[in-house]
């Protein structure tokens, strides 16, 4: 009995850590997506490629630095110069470096911080690359281009061996191996700390004149441009910054699995699910994103845990059912409740004297076309049965 109790205690812990880790990761991704789409109106369907860049930073750059230190320390590293050796000797080298880092804690810690910083920079750079073709064009062209570039980056990541081992994937040295206990717990704690820091950073950026500028770009970029602001540069900066944050998420998940392979970063998990979290919770405010994230992750974990019961009810494989659920929820949310669970509100910027501003309509209806702002408000009042009523003439 004690063994069963002990084993369930271990399993209980593992599930909790797993859920907490995924929750932390997807909260960061969803907040970054909310920053782009909910506030600045940049529909980024290429988050998967930003996350994968973080993973590739760890597997291509940081691992090489660690291996170089190990080679200089003469602990018996195997060669890793050619593609074949990179894949074949990877596990042995990683094993050696884990022992090395276990003794040199400062080295491990500094590598961790370096990888987060470098991941952010590479994500920033990747955001610049993916914004080059289409940031000037309309939203639909932007969506097409971003999906295309995400696919292209995935093909490159799958086939180029020195990035992340091609189709075989590669193990990554555990930079937190100086920690005497479970590697996953400390990675989960680090993820949640980074999540809180990201929340503060994004909140400060939003509740500031820059946040108001982003809202202005979303609502009516012609006016903003006529006042003299460079709309294209603002949208590009937003995309680059959010791409950097998503890359940090990629770094963290590489350390959680201690393994990087391109199929960890498929488009369905890293683009469509965060979009669903955003839409369900309500685009435009952080609490809504948080709720959407919690609901979706709870739903996915429940599906995984009760897989056998569901499979007898649904006669085809559950992975298909999950994708159908994703699509159905997206459509249902968009048709019935496009504001999400927590609708958007005006930005609260301390220092602005709201009494001197023109009173503006704060009911945001995501469904109305952005090109014609005069249609906003009328449809919403007609559906909800209140507010301004427009008589049909």
């Amino acid at each position: 009995m004690i063994e069963i109790a002990a084993s369930t205690a271990v399993v209980y812990q593992r599930i909790v850590i797993d859920i907490a880790m995924y929750f932390g990761l997807f909260v960061i991704v969803s907040m970054a997506l909310n920053f782009q789409y909910g506030n600045a109106g940049v529909p980024n369907m290429g988050c998967a490629v930003s996350a994968s860049i973080g993973g590739y930073t760890v597997s291509a750059l940081i691992t090489r630095i660690i291996y170089w230190v190990g080679t200089n320390a003469n602990i018996g590293m195997k060669p890793y110069a050619t593609d074949y050796d990179w894949n074949y000797n990877n596990q042995f080298n990683t094993y050696l470096m884990n022992d090395y880092i276990a003794e040199h804690a400062m080295f491990g810690m500094s590598m961790f911080i370096l990888s987060i910083a470098l991941g952010f920079v590479m994500g920033w750079f990747m955001g610049y690359i993916i914004s080059l073709p289409a940031i000037r064009l309309r939203a639909t062209y932007l969506i097409i281009t971003l999906i295309t570039m995400a696919d292209a980056a995935q093909i490159l990541g799958r086939n180029v061996v020195w990035i992340s081992g091609g189709t075989l994937g590669m193990w990554v040295p555990n930079v937190l191996s100086w920690y005497p206990g479970d590697r996953t717990i400390i990675t989960a704690v680090a993820t949640m700390l980074i999540g809180i820091i990201c929340y503060f950073i994004l909140r400060t950026m939003l509740n500031s004149p820059y946040g108001r500028l982003m809202r202005g770009v979303r609502e009516n970029d012609l006016t903003v441009q006529s006042v003299g602001k460079d709309v294209v540069a603002i949208r590009r900066n937003v995309l680059m910054f959010a791409s950097g944050i998503t890359a940090v998420v990629g770094v963290l998940i590489a350390y959680y699995y201690s393994y990087v392979i391109q199929s960890n970063f498929i488009r369905a998990t890293w683009t469509y699910w965060p979009w669903l979290m955003l839409m369900i919770g309500g685009a435009g405010n952080n609490a809504g994103t948080f709720i959407g994230c919690a609901l979706i992750i709870a739903m996915r974990r429940v599906i995984i845990v009760y897989k056998w019961a569901l499979e007898s009810f649904v006669w085809y494989p559950i992975v298909i059912f999950e994708q159908q659920l994703l699509a159905t929820l997206l459509l249902v949310v968009m048709v019935f409740r496009p504001d999400g669970l927590i609708p958007e509100k005006l930005l609260r910027i301390p220092g602005i004297d709201y009494r001197r501003l023109v009173h503006e309509e704060t009911e945001v209806d995501w469904r109305v076309d952005r090109i014609d702002p005069s249609k906003r408000g009328g449809i919403l009042s007609r559906i909800r049965g209140g507010g301004k009523k427009e008589e049909a003439e």
Partner: protein, 44 residues
């Protein structure tokens, strides 16, 4: 000493603090906005 249970509870605490903080901020902001809007309306 065994750090794992300590970190486990740290993680749980963070998991509770983060949403509490987010919602607290959100409610404070909405309350402040409503107060200012009532000031504006009362002034007209």
């Amino acid at each position: 000493m065994d750090w794992d249970p300590i970190l486990f509870w740290v993680m749980i605490i963070l998991w509770v603090i983060t949403p509490a903080f987010i919602f607290y901020e959100e409610i404070m902001e909405r309350r402040a906005l409503r107060k200012e809007r009532e000031e504006v309306v009362a002034q007209d």
